[in-house]
């Protein structure tokens, strides 16, 4: 299987040709010249030739064999498969509800995960309870797998807190907005696991844009140097807001692992079964002391970057249509139906459940109160701070000065 099935992604310019030219001019790097030359022949968009794409379910829902990764899903039951389907449907429903709530003014912003359900549910379901997850701000599906109440994710987008859930409650760290920072936290946490002699593992989520950040590359390096039990799970959704992947890198993303001394693989990010298998493999490597793995889940951000974004300014509808044909939910449904693993009653019941979830999310969000004014001063420090105490008292006095004027609001 190859990634060229991404028919939608027309290279914007002939990067391979250009780098081949510059490499031959300098004549210093024969490997660069060689690979760039190969790329120029086969695929002008990539400099590393045709990357392998791990796939267990085709877009049409056909199960394909893979000797390496089949063992990681060999014991999967029809019930498990229905579970994966349910997770994807419900997390998509939640995501859509959140987008609607933003449109209704209930949320200030929402970062949709639409299209990335397979990457998130497959990888999320590969983790064990004692593993630790470091998400970006778009891992709503992973949060779902970890058992985080989805309505907890909405607090920061509504503006009532800046995170707010207990990361240790589900071993799911707070959303991290500054791009890539969390990969270092994940690596440090994994170093701690190794020091403790535990066999847990850590998974760090990030995106194609984040792969340009120094912190991500430092995380790769620290992970490799200390052989930390961490899986670097990159959802390459093709777009960093308006910038395509060729603005971020000149080699297929997963190949960057090689330079750090650990394996990198590219998996069909819209194939939940393949994402599950590959992540299980990578987590097992981590547990058994084999160090980090880079998993590039090749997927597509079907929606906007956030509700504030307008993708029509930088990408064409045909691209999205091409990816819709590879929808992660549709292909698993096709497989379930063809294999008689799910009947109409299952799908109908799920539809009911989905509607109930949407209703609950709506109700919880609308009832979410504004925080107490004094929350500004809460938890700035664990051990307290004289200035914070002083300013809290000043703020209280100021607030109290309105008491006589009829109780403010």
């Amino acid at each position: 299987m190859t990634v060229e099935s991404t028919a939608a992604r027309k290279p914007r310019r002939s990067a391979g040709t250009k780098s081949a030219a510059s490499a031959s001019t300098t004549g210093t790097k024969s490997t660069a010249s060689r690979s760039a030359g190969a790329a120029a022949k086969k695929s002008p968009g990539a400099t590393g030739g045709e990357p392998e794409l791990i796939q267990l379910l085709t877009p049409e829902g056909e199960r394909v064999k893979d000797a390496t990764y089949d063992p990681y899903v060999a014991d999967i039951t029809p019930e498990d498969l229905r579970g994966l389907y349910r997770d994807m449907v419900l997390s998509r429903r939640f995501d859509a509800e959140a987008t609607s709530l933003q449109r209704q003014g209930e949320l200030g912003l929402w970062a949709s995960m639409l299209g990335q359900e397979a990457a998130q549910i497959g990888s999320g379901r590969a983790t064990r309870d004692d593993d630790y997850v470091f998400p970006t701000y778009r891992e709503h599906g992973v949060a779902w797998c970890r058992g985080v109440d989805p309505t907890n994710l909405l607090g920061m987008f509504r503006g009532v807190n800046n995170g707010g859930w207990d990361p240790n409650g589900n071993n799911f760290h707070l959303y991290t907005i500054v791009i890539g920072s969390q990969t270092l936290h994940a690596t440090g946490y994994a170093m701690g696991i190794a020091k403790d002699g535990a066999d847990s593992a850590v998974i760090a989520y990030f995106g194609d844009g984040a792969s340009s950040q120094g912190d991500v590359l430092e995380a790769f390096n620290f992970g490799a140097v200390y052989n930390a039990p961490v899986v670097f799970f990159c959802q390459n959704n093709q777009w960093a807001i308006s910038e395509p992947t060729e603005r971020q890198m000149r080699v297929p993303l997963y190949q960057r692992a090689q330079g750090f001394g650990f394996p990198g693989v590219r998996v069909d990010g819209n194939d939940v079964l393949a994402c599950l298998a590959v992540t299980k493999w990578a987590l097992e490597r981590a547990r058994s002391g084999e160090g980090p793995t880079l998993v590039e889940a090749y997927t597509y951000r079907m929606g906007a970057h956030t509700t504030s974004d307008d993708p029509t300014k930088y990408r064409a509808d045909e691209e999205r249509e091409a990816w819709e044909a590879k929808d992660p939910i549709l292909r698993l449904r096709a497989y379930l139906e063809a294999a008689n693993h799910a009947d109409e009653a299952f799908f109908a019941e799920l539809e009911t459940e989905s509607e109930a979830l949407g209703k609950r999310v709506r109700e919880v969000v609308r009832a979410m109160p504004d925080p107490d004014k004094f929350a500004i001063f809460e938890n700035v420090y664990a051990d307290g701070h004289a200035l914070v105490d002083e300013e809290r008292a000043q703020f209280a006095a100021y607030q109290a000065s309105f008491a006589d004027a009829g109780e403010g609001k």
Binding site: N162, G188, D215, E218, N221, V380, A382, H385
Partner: protein, 326 residues
């Protein structure tokens, strides 16, 4: 028996040793902190005695060091990170300001970040560029961080103990030109609060506030002024976040004059905040405006010019005279 004379660097070394000894969760991390014992030998011998798992030589990447220290803290460790020199902290500034400082609040208090970041700082050692800076105000400005600096070996020992025990991130500025100054260290004493200022010399005519490397200069200035019949009180601030304004206020209500001294640039520095707050608190006590002595709004100069840039005895006394002349 309880006290022992040692250099400031050695006092920090002993303090780290005590911490490693008493708390298995304490880790030392940084560039060259292992076999070499750090470029200033502050961690000398610690890796030999506690092993590579606890005294960790890291890749040469400051953001990576602090970022992974955050992860280790989330796992329950108490990392003590060394940044080799003041001017090298900025690759880690994002992790410190954006992640370390805010994470406790973002989690509504449900996680703690007991990370100490040691930074040898300040000039006066004839170093090359980026090795002599005083960036403390850039950290004190950030809510969520605590910022301290000892001026002597005894404080260095105890303040490091307290910083490591703190559940908040602490930026620990070490006055590198005082690393070799010796003083009595009493390891059996019960230390005062970490963020409380200390009266280093009592006086009645004017208060000098300083911290870290400038305390010694101010004590020398006070001794020189004494010969001219002026009684100068010297307050060793010790903590730049939080600042012990109560102690400054108490001193100023007595002396009615205040000069703040630091190596860092005066503009928007620690002294500016102290001047503003003390003006507010002591307006009717002050006989003169609060004056500041410090670095200029210019890059730290080449070593041959640093004596012109750094506040020395004469510049401090000049400010004392100007204040007393009001």
């Amino acid at each position: 028996m309880a006290t022992e004379k040692m250099a400031l660097a050695k006092a920090i070394n002993e303090s780290l040793r005590t911490a490693l000894d008493t708390d298995p969760k304490v880790l030392i991390m940084g560039e060259d902190v292992g076999k070499l014992g750090g470029v200033f030998r502050v961690t000398d011998g610690l890796q030999k005695d506690f092993g590579e798992e606890r005294v960790i030589d890291t890749p040469l990447a400051e953001s990576g060091i602090v970022g992974t220290a955050i992860g280790l803290a989330l796992r329950g460790y108490r990392p003590v990170v060394e940044i080799q020199f003041d001017g090298f902290v900025f690759p880690a500034y994002d992790q410190i300001v954006t992640q370390l400082a805010k994470m406790h609040a973002r989690a509504l208090g449900k996680i703690k970040l007991p990370v100490v970041i040691r930074i040898p700082y300040g000039g006066g050692i004839g170093a090359v560029e980026h090795h002599s800076e005083s960036p403390e105000a850039l950290f004190a400005h950030v809510a969520g961080l605590k910022v301290v600096s000892p001026s002597n070996a005894d404080d260095a020992y105890w303040m490091m103990q307290q910083a490591i025990q703190s559940d908040d991130p602490v930026i620990f500025f070490e006055p590198k030109r005082r690393y070799w100054d010796k003083a009595e260290v009493n390891k059996d004493a019960i230390p005062g609060p970490l963020h409380k200022a200390r009266v280093a010399r009592e006086g009645s005519d004017l208060t000098l506030v300083a911290y870290g490397p400038m305390v010694k200069v101010c004590l020398e200035a006070a001794a020189a002024a004494q010969e001219e019949g002026k009684s100068i009180e010297v307050l060793d601030l010790r903590s730049m976040s939080p600042i012990d304004f109560d102690s400054i206020q108490a001193s100023v209500e007595k002396t009615r004059r205040l000069v703040v001294v630091h190596e860092a640039p005066v503009f928007l520095g620690t002294g500016a905040e102290i001047a503003a707050r003390i003006t507010e608190r002591c307006f009717y006590h002050l006989e003169a405006p609060v004056l500041r002595v410090g670095g200029y709004h210019a890059p730290y100069p080449p070593a041959r010019l640093e004596d012109e840039y750094l506040p020395g005895l004469d510049r401090v006394l000049d400010a004392v005279d100007r204040s007393l002349a009001y």
